[in-house]
Amino acid sequence: MTVHGLTLDIVQMVLVTIVAAATPLMIAALGELVAERAGVLNLGVEGMMVLGAAAGFAVAVETGSTFVGAVAGAGAGLALSALFGLLTVVLSANQVASGLAMTILGLGLSGLVGASYVGLKRDPAPHLALPGLTDLPGLGRLLFGQDGFVYLAFALAAGVSWFLWRTRAGLILRAIGDDHTATHALGLQVRRVRFRAVLFGGACAGLAGAYLSLSYTPFWAPAMTAGRGWIALALVVFASWRPFRVLAGALLFGGATVLQLNAQAAGLGLPGQALSALPYLATILALVLLSLGRRRGGSLAPAALGRVFTPHR
């Protein structure tokens, strides 16, 4: 089956690559989405991600288990986000500055943690292999041949969506993100909900980092996240704080990079800098369009996002 020299297999390989490239963005962005829905802007995603990558790889090497490594990566992100939550939620410190502090701290700590694991190699996380299904031509590898992180990312989107719109706790979380003063007056536990949302976001960022060092490129190298935490932040906005749009956006962002590289390989060159700038310009454009849309009545950003809350008694 060949259409213009593109076989179905090439298309599938490109799609598999896009999904893999999108996975860390999805996981980190979904976590950040929950935190932002609760009203907390965490600019420390990159730091939590890179710390998760280092800790995840180190623990996987020590225990020999990718699973334990992934859990440790999430745990490292969670630990750093606990510090962030302590500062911003409990002590009402400024979120922008605290988040940047976490990024610097995370980069430094990851270097210290990962120092003795440089140059080591592990086998990548195992991929699903279902007899018959995985070998289906055209779709088998795409649907039934990914590793656990990928399926988890999609499950996470469904879970977050269900939680935010189908549960009482999710409703409370969104309400708090929109108006902490009113929800507080109603007797809701603003800070507890926010703290938990921050922890969830940190764990997701750590897990996304662990995906990079355990599955995507299975080794540890300093600063290997290379700015993906910032892309995840952009993605949440781009997706207008909706989980399934995060999936779509991540596939789009990942797809833009991968297709750009494929276009080059196919001999269609474009200036690299312009293409690298695309995700950021796309986010700004999305923000503008969203704002125009809002004028016609939709509600989008959590209204209390980034604002400090202190219960006065």
Binding site: V14, G114, G119, F219
Partner: protein, 358 residues
């Protein structure tokens, strides 16, 4: 003047307890400093330079003391270089192209300190430059790739369109063409020296589009690992990356600065150091090819022969006739490309169908 300076420094050191500047006296250790643009843990360019620092410490033992600064941003490097000079370091290696102007500025202020700048082209009485003819190694890789490719298409992951990278692509292609005139190459520019994720994506793109052998001019082992995962072949970069891809690595172009670094330190110790330009290749041991692996014996033999021919000077990668992409003659038949042409190369050789980004 020197005495005055020394006395002043001594006073400062006594008075404030922390000053480190001092002049080297005969019989004292030679302090050798290294300034790296990346982390020593990159397992690529900076790592390989740090190996030479360790080799220096091992070779000269008590005669030298070494130290390094890593992750030094090029725009902010003048101070880093000067702090070595002020801390009594007698020989300072600045290992990235972007350190060129700062190195010259500092060197002007410290005429007694010797500086060694890698990959640049400006020198001074106390500034030497050195680089390696990486393209020689790439030519050998090209011969291997040309012999082994089943699809007739090679993949090349490139960082930035600077001459060193472009001459590497050309040499790789000329090597491949020497054994397979119809060979094709696909080139992907990733616009970074180090981003494992993006390098892996580039590798996947090239493999998906029919390349079966990868070469890279970026620093991480991610492309090699990707080739290994898909049962394809690839060349390593900067250091021997066999451990990352034992079934995929054919060879690796290893930057071996050990001999050069030790030699320069010895020259300073002997008082024979002079400013000069070194552009060493396979012959000088500066470009080393990791043991040939994952290939049949006859290809291995041809690779060894090519390497030997380059080493003894009977084979020059840019030996004419060399044609540019548009068919015009860059090097006349029987002549060799002069060094300045190779150093400033900004065109592709014939047979590459992509356009070079600018």
């Amino acid at each position: 003047m020197r005495i005055v300076q020394g006395a002043l420094v001594a006073v400062l050191a006594l008075g404030l307890g922390g000053a480190q500047a001092q002049e080297k006296k005969p019989g004292e250790k030679l302090k050798v400093g290294f300034v790296y643009v990346g982390p020593v843990a990159d397992y690529g360019y900076s790592y390989q330079h740090d190996q030479s620092r360790k080799a220096l410490a091992a070779a000269l033992g008590d005669e030298v003391e070494t130290s390094f600064l890593e992750n030094v941003p090029e725009a902010d490097s003048e101070r880093s270089i000067e702090s070595f000079a002020r801390s009594g370091y007698g020989l300072i290696f600045t290992t990235s192209f972007g350190f060129m102007e700062p190195t010259l500025k500092v060197a002007k202020k410290f005429p007694k300190v010797k500086f060694e700048h890698a990959t640049g082209y400006k020198r001074a009485p106390n500034v030497s430059t050195y680089s390696a003819r990486f393209y020689e190694g790439r030519y050998v890789c090209g011969v291997i790739a040309g012999r082994l490719s089943k699809t007739g298409t090679l993949g090349y992951i490139a960082s930035f369109p600077i001459p060193e990278v472009v001459s590497g692509i050309n040499a790789f292609m000329l090597g491949a063409q020497s054994v397979n005139p119809d060979i094709k190459i696909k080139i992907v520019w990733v616009n970074t020296w180090f981003d494992p994720g993006k390098e892996a994506e580039a590798a996947k793109a090239l493999l998906a589009q029919g390349a079966d052998i990868l070469s890279q001019h970026t620093d991480s082992a991610a492309p090699l690992q990707e080739a290994e995962k898909q049962g394809k072949l690839a060349f390593g970069q900067s250091s021997d990356q066999m451990r990352f891809a034992p079934k995929a690595q054919l060879t690796s172009i290893v930057d071996d600065w050990d001999g050069y670094v030790v030699g320069e330190a010895k020259a300073v110790l002997d008082g024979t150091w002079k400013s000069h330009d070194t552009w060493g290749g396979i012959k000088d041991g500066m470009v080393v090819l990791a043991p040939f692996a994952n290939m049949p014996d006859d290809v291995k033999a041809q690779a060894e022969a090519t390497k030997k021919a380059i080493a003894d000077g009977t084979l020059l990668p840019f030996h004419g006739p060399v044609f540019k992409q548009d068919g015009s003659e860059a090097v006349k038949a029987g002549e060799n490309a002069p060094d300045p042409m190779i150093l400033g190369m900004n065109w592709y050789v014939k047979g590459i169908s992509d356009t070079l980004p600018r």
